[in-house]
């Protein structure tokens, strides 16, 4: 009897637990799913309130097609976003791996000063130095160029990525390096062939954060990119949603938001382990 009671109790607890979990999950995921599904509605239907969330008159790619007719087109903005994000990933990985290796394994003048300088940039929000960044880019002839934006994004990633890479290199035992040096490895070989494979998880982590950071950044892109042909996705979509291209087409907004969200979600789901690792490295001590 007592056994049966506690079994019922356990079952009730489990039921309560999972219904809480399911309800909370739905609340968190529904807006995303809703948007992705609504984007497939034919344009006529997409203008109407979204109940039910799925298309009732057949799936359609019309919203994606229309999207390309605003300004210089969605495809141009998507290409800009891809270019900026990929370049940010490549450059911030190269720069941070080099710097992380340098800070971890060498002694040189001003080392501590440089390290503190790079890390302390995190205390100063880039929002407050955006005006002069605008002027610096103009001076360098990089105003309104995607290259200039990449420079800003890479710099924003540096404190996190260099901290991460320095710690990753620190964790590699020195014996490995000494053994490789005995075998006659030069500086380049040492870094690329010996060290890099050992710090690979760190590289994936910083690459993931660099991509998400660049892909989602809004304010700097809004301020620094003035030509429609240079707009990244968030800027382009905001122009569309604010009615700058005429009446707001909510179907197009849903499609555009889907294009912006899906790469982030896929990368996160595929690389969750690295994402959490990055959060821990960045956040906890």
């Amino acid at each position: 009897m007592a056994q049966a009671m506690s079994d019922t109790g356990k079952l009730a607890a489990r039921l309560a637990r999972h219904s809480t979990g399911i309800i909370a999950s739905v609340l968190f995921v529904a807006p995303i799913v809703w948007t992705v599904l609504s984007a497939f509605k034919p344009a006529q239907e997409a203008r109407l309130p979204p109940l039910p969330p799925w298309p009732t008159t057949g799936f359609s790619l019309e919203n994606y097609a229309t999207l390309n007719s605003f300004g210089d087109g969605l495809w141009v903005s998507t290409q800009n976003s891809i270019y900026v994000s990929v370049m940010t990933v490549i450059l911030s990985v190269i720069v941070s791996v080099l710097a992380g290796y340098g800070f971890s394994r060498f002694r040189f003048p001003l080392k501590d000063l440089f390290f503190v300088l790079i890390l302390s940039t995190i205390m100063i929000p880039f929002q407050s130095i955006l005006t002069p960044i605008f002027l610096v880019l103009t001076k360098l002839g990089l105003h309104n160029t995607l290259t200039g934006l990449v420079g800003v994004y890479v710099t924003l990633q540096l404190p996190f990525s260099i901290f991460m890479m320095r710690n990753a290199f620190d964790a590699v035992p020195r014996e490995i390096e000494e053994a490789a040096r005995m075998d006659g490895a030069g500086n380049a070989t040492m870094l690329i062939k010996v060290m890099l494979p050992l710090v690979w998880p760190g590289v994936v982590t910083i690459a993931l954060f660099a991509f998400l950071g660049a892909w989602n950044e809004f304010l700097a892109a809004l301020v620094l990119m003035t030509d429609q042909s240079k707009f990244t996705l968030p800027v382009m979509m905001t122009a569309l949603q604010s009615g700058r291209f005429g009446a707001i087409d909510w179907g197009a907004v849903q499609a555009g938001v889907t294009v912006m969200m899906v790469p982030c979600l896929i990368l996160f789901l595929a690389l969750q382990r690295f994402y959490i690792r990055g959060l821990m490295a960045g956040a906890v001590k």
Partner: protein, 308 residues
């Protein structure tokens, strides 16, 4: 997004391979990073201070006006209103985020069936960008084509479609809801690591001593999580003070400029009115506020566990 806070390095071997010439090689490795930080950070930072002392239009000559911009700030009621609103928003949104994230963190802390799945689901909005989230919600909140107002109307809950974004209170709480949706998963993960670092036997010993769940929470969980709580708090406060995307995209500062944030006002002055010098002076004020807060918070974090 910036997530580093502490710079305590693990103990490192002091012995260095090689000597002499090799010193300079290290400098070469870090040179690109230092150059980038100089060009895109240190120089602009210095320029902000310099520009703040000038009348600096986008076109034409700039002229030195000393503290003129700063005197103007004192009389800039829009800015002070924006700052007050930013502070209010920061307090409210931070409380709201913790109120949602803490129970979630407890919910997913221990590995049980489906915990990983729940964790992932709760976290999904956190990887979506703030701009995407704002665009998405600007649709859901729309009076005619969105979700809430038409659904409530269809269900007969309201007799006239209600524009959530037209008046301050509903607009403000809509933004709070959106931000909690977007950020709670992130805070949850940070709090979860704090919970996981509490030794299990401590809790068990307390159970044996007859401590109830509330007593245990107060006497064990909270004190041992102080650093994690402080950290989550810092991230939330710093992020909220810099809020811009959601207010620009969803509300455009409206209704009647009541939701202008500090960064939004700086953006307006610098890039809409092109008063670059004035924008720089406003930036300096915001910067001083933020650095002060960061230092206070760093001090909070550094304080050793269990010392009060």
């Amino acid at each position: 997004m910036t997530t580093i806070t502490a710079t305590t390095a693990p103990p490192r071997a002091r012995k260095l391979v090689g000597a002499g010439r090799r010193q300079w090689i290290g400098l070469l490795y870090v040179a690109p990073a230092v150059a980038l930080v100089m060009v895109f950070f240190v120089i602009p930072l210095g320029m902000t201070a310099w520009m703040s002392l000038h009348n600096w239009p986008l076109m034409g000559e700039h002229s030195f006006i000393g503290l003129g911009n700063y005197w103007a700030i004192l009389r800039d009621t829009r800015f002070w209103n924006a700052l007050r609103f930013t502070g209010y928003y920061t307090v409210v949104v931070t409380i709201a985020i913790f109120a949602v994230a803490f129970p979630l963190a407890i919910f997913i802390e221990r590995p049980r069936p489906f915990t990983n799945l729940y964790r992932t689901m709760f976290f999904m909005p956190a990887v979506v960008g703030f701009a995407s989230a704002s665009l998405l919600w600007s649709w859901l909140l729309n009076v005619d084509s969105g979700l809430f107002s038409p659904a409530a109307y269809d269900l007969g809950l309201i007799d006239k479609k209600f524009n959530l974004l037209a008046t301050f209170q509903p607009a403000f709480w809509s933004i709070i809801a959106m931000v909690v949706w977007k950020v709670a998963g992130f805070t949850m993960i940070i709090l979860m690591t704090g919970l996981q670092s509490i030794p299990q036997d401590l809790q068990e010993a307390a159970v044996i001593d007859g401590a109830g769940p509330f007593a245990r929470f107060r006497a064990i969980t909270l004190p041992l999580m102080r650093r994690t709580l402080a950290l989550a708090l810092i991230l939330s406060v710093a992020g909220s003070i810099l809020a811009f995307d959601q207010f620009y995209i969803i509300l455009r500062g409206g209704p009647r400029n009541q939701t202008l944030t500090a960064v939004y006002w700086i953006f307006n002055q610098s890039f809409v009115s092109f008063k670059l010098g004035y924008g720089a002076a406003l930036s300096m004020v915001l910067l001083v506020i933020l650095v002060t807060l960061s230092l206070v918070q760093l001090w909070l974090l550094r304080k050793p566990e269990g010392l009060d």
